[in-house]
């Protein structure tokens, strides 16, 4: 049973198509990444998942049934726009939000304390929210969305604006929740965060699905044509004919190989050439990164195409409006 199932959902705001024919599914114990640049329709999709707005067409199902507000107590939601009562005491605020989710005051208090300890912000509990740093406020919201121990956790840009230590702490927490069998879905525009974390992804652009599937499915569709080499010495091997492009970084290079039937052999030849020229500390062959895939997919459309697409979307929006 899929925890979240979107079937061909579509949402049009007055003049803008926010989401177009989006389908995806998330299972229990799965970490799902919803990827896309700013304004691509991630937040609109998430709002439809929790019934905050309704799709114009298509079906949203949670826990195997068409959406009703009745299942919301099993969902933890962290909105993109962070919001807390500024003047309110942190612990009181957490208890209030916990109670709103239907847990008793004493239980809400106990869980809030535990979570604050876990996320290392116990010193914030007696303070007013407005006196806290942004990162701290984010942690508090993070806790607020998890207090009622939800089976489905939906987070819109949970790591944006966090320092690396805090981001890592929250990522670890999400991984732990996944291992407890929770379904976790989060959106981000930072592709690199997703590579390690997610079991499956959906990459959307201008409201449309560009790529989706498990991480392996997505990656296996692409040849292993990326080579990373760390080396000392002569870089003459970079003139090898099988190389399409090179990005140079201090002490290392990122190479994209030419598309070829004999890619594996070409790569081996490159390795031999490199070993002849320089002293290698690393030679790694891999699929393109998600970022590369995204740029490749989206970058295909020229600026003219994009402008035309926008105009067509406006026209569709206008018709729907009339």
């Amino acid at each position: 049973m899929a925890i979240v199932q979107l079937d061909h959902i579509r949402k049009v705001y007055d003049t803008k198509v926010a989401v177009e024919d989006l389908s995806l599914s998330v299972d229990a114990g799965m970490m799902f990444g919803l990827l896309g640049p700013n304004g691509s329709g991630k937040t609109s999709s998430i709002r439809m998942m929790i019934g905050m707005t309704l799709p114009d067409s298509g079906l949203v199902s949670l826990f195997g049934k068409p959406f009703t507000r009745g299942v919301l107590w099993r969902v933890g939601y962290l909105p993109e726009e962070r919001g807390l009562y500024k003047k309110m005491n942190v612990l009181e605020q957490l208890v209030f939000l916990g109670q709103l989710r239907g847990i008793s005051e004493a239980e809400a208090r106990r869980r809030s304390r535990n979570w604050c300890e876990k996320l290392q912000i116990t010193e914030a509990m007696p303070k007013k929210t407005e006196d806290l740093s942004k990162g701290m406020q984010q942690k508090i919201q993070f806790i607020a969305s998890l207090l009622h121990n939800p089976d489905l956790i939906i987070m819109d840009e949970p790591f944006s604006g966090l320092d690396p230590v805090s981001a890592a702490l929250l990522m670890d927490t999400l991984v732990e929740l996944r291992s407890q069998g929770k379904a976790v879905l989060f959106s981000t525009h930072r592709m690199d965060q997703v590579e390690k974390l997610c079991d499956a992804i959906a990459l959307i652009h201008r409201g449309q699905l560009v790529v989706s599937g498990t991480m392996q499915e997505v990656k296996s569709a692409y040849p292993r044509n990326r080579v990373q080499i760390s080396f000392e010495g002569d870089d003459g091997f970079l003139r090898h004919p099988a190389i399409a492009s090179v990005k140079r970084y201090p002490g290392q290079v990122e190479i994209t190989m030419r598309p070829s039937q004999t890619l594996t052999e070409d790569t081996q030849l490159l390795l031999a050439e490199a070993m002849r020229c320089a002293r290698l500390t690393r030679f790694e062959v891999s699929e393109p990164t998600l970022e590369d895939i995204f740029i490749e997919k989206v970058g295909q459309s020229s600026p003219e195409d994009l402008a035309e697409l926008a105009m067509r979307q406006n026209a569709v929006g206008g018709e729907a409006d009339a």
């Binding site: 707005t53 919301l72 969305s145």
Partner: protein
């Protein structure tokens, strides 16, 4: 659902009652209002200024008669004032009269004295052109519109001339006094409102309170919705609570704060009334007279009025994104309330006039106006019942509309919706 409404209302109440603003308004507003009411009475009774006028006439007898008549009136006023307030010897305005013969240079001198402030005005009496006719009178004063003085002079002259006529017909002075004794009309009213003046004061104070609290707390509802929109906590709440429950909780929570405040003020009013059953100020006796029924009706109309206006305010808050935008729309709250305020005068003088009866049945005006009518006038039972039913029905209607606007409006960031969009929201869901 209900427990969530309660949770939201409780949070709203707690957070608001704890603020410094609440404490300050609770203490400051009654002080200001009390100061205003009593201050104006106090000033009104204390501003007595003596007048010095001249009467110019060829007929010196007429001038002297006028002088004695004015003095007689003065004595009567003094007596009346002394009997009504024995404790504080009340001073009334005194008029000093100089009688003088007219002459060619007199007017110039008088004008000079008027200019220098030695004189407040002079009455110029021109004898009648024909025998047996009335002389003509002209009163010149520093302040052109000294209507009160002109009135006093006119009535005094009336009596002087009547006396003169009576004397011609052989009526003796004592009989004249009896005939010219001014009539007294005692203010006796049917119903419970025996002490009319002080009833008006206390009812007006409650009117002000209702007006202020409905306006302040209605705006507070709108403001707190905007605050939650800008702080984006809305989305967190919406994931757990229905928008209707959020709105209900907010209106109840903020309203409870208003009730608390009014409760404090009323209690303070009672303590004050009990401590000094009658407060003497400048000779006028002001009782704080609030009957139990008045308070019951005050609370009924206050709560209904608050619900009416705060639901509208909630819709306004949901439609806007900032305080500035709200200010452009808050005329929807202000105009009906200001109209009520404008009706205060007519209602105080004639609480049962047709205008008052019609206005009090129109829902936006009902809370304030019907409350005034119940307290001061004699509305029929059906009128009171109809006003409450009409108001309640329109509140239900407004809440229905508002909750729809709210549901969609709270998630609208960025731009203000057009009327067309709002109509679409009403159809949506």
């Amino acid at each position: 659902m209900l427990s969530r409404v309660w949770l939201i209302a409780r949070r709203e109440y707690r957070e608001r009652v704890r603020t410094r603003g609440f404490v300050i308004t609770t203490i400051l507003i009654p002080l200001l209002m009390g100061g205003f009411v009593f201050g104006s009475i106090f000033l009104g009774s204390k501003t007595v200024s003596d007048r010095h006028i001249a009467v110019v006439s060829i007929d010196t007898e007429l001038a002297l008669d006028l002088q004695t008549e004015l003095e007689r009136e003065q004595r009567q006023r003094d007596d009346a004032a002394a009997s009504s307030a024995p404790a504080a010897a009340k001073k009334t305005a005194r008029i000093f009269v100089d009688a003088m013969n007219s002459g060619p240079e007199v007017r110039g001198e008088l004008n000079q004295e008027l200019e220098s402030g030695d004189l407040d005005g002079y009455l110029w009496i021109t004898p009648a052109a024909v025998a047996g006719g009335r002389p003509t009178f002209a009163y010149t004063s520093k302040s052109g519109g000294d209507a009160a003085m002109r009135g006093t002079l006119a009535s005094a002259l009336d009596r002087v001339l009547i006396r003169e006529q009576l004397a011609h017909r052989g009526v003796v002075a004592t009989e004249m006094d009896a005939m010219l004794q001014p009539v007294k009309v005692a203010a006796v009213e049917r119903g419970p409102h025996t002490d009319t003046e002080s009833a008006k004061v206390s009812v007006s104070v409650l009117f002000f309170i209702m007006y202020l609290v409905i306006m302040l707390y209605g705006m507070n509802v709108a403001r707190s919705i905007i605050e939650e929109k800008t702080s984006r906590i809305f989305e967190v709440l919406l994931a757990a609570v229905r928008p209707e429950a959020m709105m209900a909780g907010k209106i109840i929570g903020v309203g409870a704060v208003g009730l608390t405040q009014v409760g404090i003020w009323l209690t303070a009013g009672f303590v004050l009334a009990a401590a000094s059953a009658a407060i003497h100020l400048g000779g006028d006796t002001i009782h704080i007279t609030i009957s139990g029924m008045q308070i019951v009706f005050f609370l009924i109309y206050f709560i209904l009025g608050y619900l009416f206006y705060s639901s509208i305010a909630a819709a306004l808050g949901a439609m806007t994104n900032s305080e500035q935008e709200l200010q452009q729309l808050n005329m929807f709250l202000m105009i009906p309330l200001l109209l009520c305020f404008g009706m205060l005068g007519p209602l105080l003088t004639a609480p049962d006039s047709t205008l008052a009866r019609v206005m009090a049945l129109i829902p936006p005006f009902t809370p304030l106006l019907m409350y005034m009518r119940v307290s001061l006038g004699h509305p029929a039972v059906w009128e009171v019942a109809a006003s409450i039913v009409l108001l309640s029905v329109s509140i239900c209607g407004i809440i229905w509309v508002t909750s729809r606007i709210y549901r969609v409006g709270v998630l609208m960031y960025g731009k203000r919706p057009s009327v067309r969009e709002i109509l679409r929201w009403l159809k949506y869901s």
